[in-house]
């Protein structure tokens, strides 16, 4: 069962992949081909995304045309920056797999890898 949050993801990716601004109708028509979904569900999800700042919209006739406020790459870069700096004042609690590796340690690890690679090829 896919949750509601999951639909936000699917719709954002559709908007990013869409050529130019997208209407609810356009995305609904695409979504309907792969899952049973109501038009109002798509509309309220896009409204949510707009409220949360993910989508911009402009009225065109009776319908809204939606665009992403930033590209997927920009969001990825922003997230990585936040993840690597810890989020400034109110520090986020993220557990990195390897976080606290300073230059010396990473250099030492590199030496081990080189030695291992050498041994492996012998």
């Amino acid at each position: 069962m896919r949750g509601f949050g999951d639909l936000e993801t699917v719709i954002m990716h559709m908007v990013w992949d869409h050529d130019g601004p997208a209407t609810v109708r356009e995305l609904f028509d695409k979504l309907r081909q792969e899952r049973a979904i109501a038009y109002t569900t798509v509309m309220s999800t896009m409204d949510n995304l707009h409220r949360k700042g993910w989508l911009d919209r402009a009225k065109e006739g009776k319908a809204y045309r939606y665009t992403a406020t930033a590209s997927r790459e920009e969001y990825s870069a922003r997230l990585m920056r936040e993840a690597l700096t810890g989020g400034g004042d109110a520090e986020m609690v993220l557990s990195h797999f390897v976080a606290d590796m300073d230059g010396a340690e990473s250099e030492a690890l590199r030496t081990v890898v080189r030695r291992l690679a050498g041994r492996g090829s012998e």
Partner: protein
């Protein structure tokens, strides 16, 4: 007064002297989970003792107010302190204001601590949601993948939580190593390590200059990593996990087969995975840590349960 000083003194000793012992006992990460418990027990114990001391002082102040007023007056003014002075409304008012100010200061500290922890939590949740929306699903849905040139893997608590991998991390990990990384991150989430680290950081920010609280965040984080390493090693294997650590740390793919031969140890994390200590050292370390935890727990319980009765008793004798 004496019991309060005793309880407060105990808190000071734990806060200033215990970090050195705990750091030594937990440095090698022989029993990461017990080490984590010992640090937490020390922090809870200090908080409990300080609160008990305050509670004692408060009880004493309320029940023995005239005597307290006299004692404070004499200690400040000496011979110049007469009955007229310390029974004056002005003096009583000044003491009352001082007490209220102290209580307010404490309340502000508690409020700031709560806000800090809450704000960090909100940001973390927002990050998890943004990662879920932006990232691509890893087949199987175990993690989301963000496009980035730098190998990174981390978990974000939230509802639901998210494990985030970068595309560069996926590129350097083979399937076995990837499973080890995922097991490591899942162990963080299952063990609620983010809560421990978040609360500890909040305490450090609230009580700057207290060694136990300032040193705890780094130590708790380090031991949490080792706990997650242990869980991941049980799920996959030690060599697999070390290979994953090396690959992620250096950004280069590591052939797992080559690792079996190595005796090189780099960081403490890699070292404890590659060269487990002899059994005797594990047992000794465990016994020492359990002893510390039991001692802390026993004294804390004594202090918190008997501070009230002790206060009443002390006043009765005086």
């Amino acid at each position: 007064m004496k019991p309060a000083l005793l309880v407060f003194g105990y808190g000071l000793v734990v806060a200033w002297c215990l970090p050195a012992l705990l750091t030594r006992l937990t440095a090698a990460g022989l029993s990461a989970r017990l080490g984590l418990a010992a640090w937490l027990a020390a922090m809870v114990s200090v908080l409990a003792s300080v609160l008990s001391a305050i509670q004692y002082l408060f009880t004493a102040a309320v029940t023995g107010w005239p005597h307290l007023a006299e004692a404070v007056c004499r200690s400040v003014a000496g011979g110049a302190c007469t009955t007229v002075v310390y029974r004056s409304a002005f003096f009583e008012l000044a003491l009352g204001v001082a007490a209220i100010a102290a209580a307010l200061a404490l309340a502000v500290l508690a409020w700031r601590y709560g806000r800090r922890v809450q704000r960090a939590q909100r940001r973390t949740r927002a990050h998890a949601e943004a990662a879920r929306i932006t990232g691509r699903r890893l087949p199987g849905g175990a993690a989301v993948v963000l496009d980035a040139a730098r190998p990174a893997a981390y978990c974000v608590p939230g509802r639901p939580a998210a494990i985030v991998l970068t595309s560069a991390a996926l590129a350097v990990l083979d399937p076995g190593q990837l499973a080890a990384v995922l097991a490591h991150e899942r162990a963080h989430l299952a063990g609620r390590h983010h809560l421990l680290i978040g609360l500890t950081r909040g305490l450090a920010a609230t009580f700057p200059g207290v060694p136990l609280f300032t040193q705890a965040p780094a130590e708790v984080a380090r031991l949490a990593e080792m706990c997650a390493d242990d869980a991941a090693a049980r799920r996959s294997s030690r060599p697999m996990l070390v290979a994953a650590l090396l690959a992620m740390g250096t950004g280069a793919a590591v052939p797992a087969a080559a690792l079996a031969a190595t005796t090189c140890a780099v960081s403490a994390r890699v070292q404890r995975l590659l060269e487990p200590a002899p059994r005797g050292r594990y047992v000794g370390n465990r016994v020492a840590l359990v002893a510390v935890i039991l001692l802390l727990a026993a004294v804390s319980v004594l202090v918190t349960c008997y501070a009230g009765p002790l206060a009443a008793h002390g006043l009765g004798l005086r």
